[in-house]
Amino acid sequence: MREVLEGSMAVARTVARCRPGVVCAYPISPQTHIVEALSVMARTGELADCEYVNVESEFSAMSVSIGASAAGSRAYTATASQGLLYMAEAVYNAAGMGLPIVMTVANRAIGAPINIWNDHSDAMAMRDSGWLQLFAADNQEAADLHVIAFAAAEELGMPAMVCMDGFVLTHASDVVELATAEQIDAFLPPYRPTQALDIDHPTTIGTMAGPESFTETKYLQHLRFLDAAEVIEAWSDRFRQEFGREAGGLVARYHPDTLDRDREAPPADPEDLTVVAMGSVIGTLQAALAPLRADGVPVRLVGISAFRPFPERALRAALGGSRHVVVIDRALELGSGGVLTGCVGRALAGTRSRIHSVVAGLGGRPILEASLRDAVMRARAGGMRSLEFLDLKQGGVPVPRVGATEVAR
């Protein structure tokens, strides 16, 4: 059934249909609508056989999820921004213990200065935590990704974040077609933990590993993370076959002319300029690049669906030796450039591609189609530096004169 739903509601309903055993809630914008909706469903019975726990912090939200998952239940929570950082220690811990918790991250900037609007700084800060990180381009994909996330996470014994742009997606209403409970029941196997706190088979979970075994533990975690790419692809393929629509995968290809998502789209040509992006800005890019394509400008679009594990091989294949690559980055590696750009650069090391990093949309700054077109054209003409800030107000904000700070003594 196609219906108009707010992104948060689409996610909440889909999560409920995945039948989590424990849902933890701690409010933080822009994630709150998701757990609010789940709290209603927990009371109406739409979310059955589930414990809904209101906790006192994000740190406890993740910790309760850890306990629940270790005790053999499917566990879910949602957070954003400062909340994700506040639970950071537990985020790493869940991954180290191999607990397949699924968490929505309603991507939001990190302060100071405090800012509740969208960018990707929060998820990027957790990029080495050992979680799968799946990015949604729109509300339909945000909802669908949760089904894939539970399936992949539980097969791998590894937690998964579904990242959706805060406000841009969470608070936007769009036409979606949600997977029904029956469809999900048929698609998603019941949670069978690889190890659990079981009184019939007592085990010790979370021991201390000394120098003689820590490296090997991390190496095994690394190998399993490499397996994750295949597992995500397999579940995404299965999802497409069952539901008849694209969601997830590693890298999203787009048709050269229509700019619609198209898994059959050929790799970019060396002469193409390819824009690489992640999240809701892909929709903006589809609109921004269409006139350029219509004018015959050889520009292509590639989306990153799985940021972790980072799909280096799939990205290289999609870029096909594209000479100019423009990466739209919504998180900043201070003093260096965009975070996504760094990953793309590593994937393209040794190739002839020239990479431009465009840092855009920090802290909710709208990313304008015209600005994106301008950036693309300048990059093609060779008039773009390797790092640019889109629509930066040069001189528009007061800047203290360097060296002129007076100190009262």
Binding site: A70, T203, G206
Partner: protein, 331 residues
Amino acid sequence: MSTVHIPFLQTGSLAVGGRLLEDDDRSVQSHADRPSSLTKGHRACQGCAEALAARWVMDTAVEAAGGKLVVANATGCLEVFSTLYPESAWKPPWIHSLFANAAAVATGIAAALHAQGRDDVRVLAQGGDGGTVDIGLAAVSGMFERNDDVLYVCYDNQGYMNTGVQRSSATPASARTATTPAVGHQPGAPVGQGKSMPKIAMAHEIPYVATATAADLRDLEHKVRTAMSIHGARYLHVLVPCPVGWGSAASESISLSRAAVQSGIFPVIEARAGELTDVQPIRELADVEDYLRPQARFAHLFKPGGEVALERWRELARANIRRYHLMGERS
């Protein structure tokens, strides 16, 4: 030749074994088939009262739960000395996640078990004073406030012993630690009297709060059994002398526990729904010096300049005796 008077105490709370008692009246520990939940081979220091108390607590809880007990453990001595990979000294299903989150992990386990319809499986969380009164306080308070079905046990050795004896907010005033050295004009811990977690727990009006020591096995077992007979949030606070951190002999952990109680320094109580319901009266009033002198962390109290701090200890003991009616009859 001198003679030593040995009291014949095979009954009552001073008897550890109670082997002359009827089987049902014996302590859990006096049974040959006790669960030994924290089994041999762990790396606790000699004289560690935490290791002793944890085994006693766990065995009683396992027995009360009919063997169906799951344990969440905070980071700390108890975790480090018992679970260095690939070995584990724990028999029940046991999980360690982080320093500050044992209470929340336990909540998650309890929530999952309830959702699975497994309310017959009971949940116990445990940690030291650092993981409870300091870094873990928010999670413990949250678990209390939600009245989650968890028994939380704090083994209080009054400092961060695992990291090398630094001050925690359970460290009493004047105690020497690695971060409150016994130098300067106010040697030792400069402020406070040690945060009272039992009072904080009582303020949450949870179904059951109790304190105990490693000096009184039967009292400890009684309190664990009582706690296990109740569903909801429960808190047990056990004083556990630490020879390394306290600078006491390994052989003195039990006598120091007893001196803490008999001097009035550590009230042994029970409370239900925020109301004090039972207080263990002092048997034979001990001087606070019986508790303080054997501990090197208080050595400066008995040197010139230590009089003021020593007097504060006497005041604390008097205040406890007054507040908790420790010299009265058992109610």
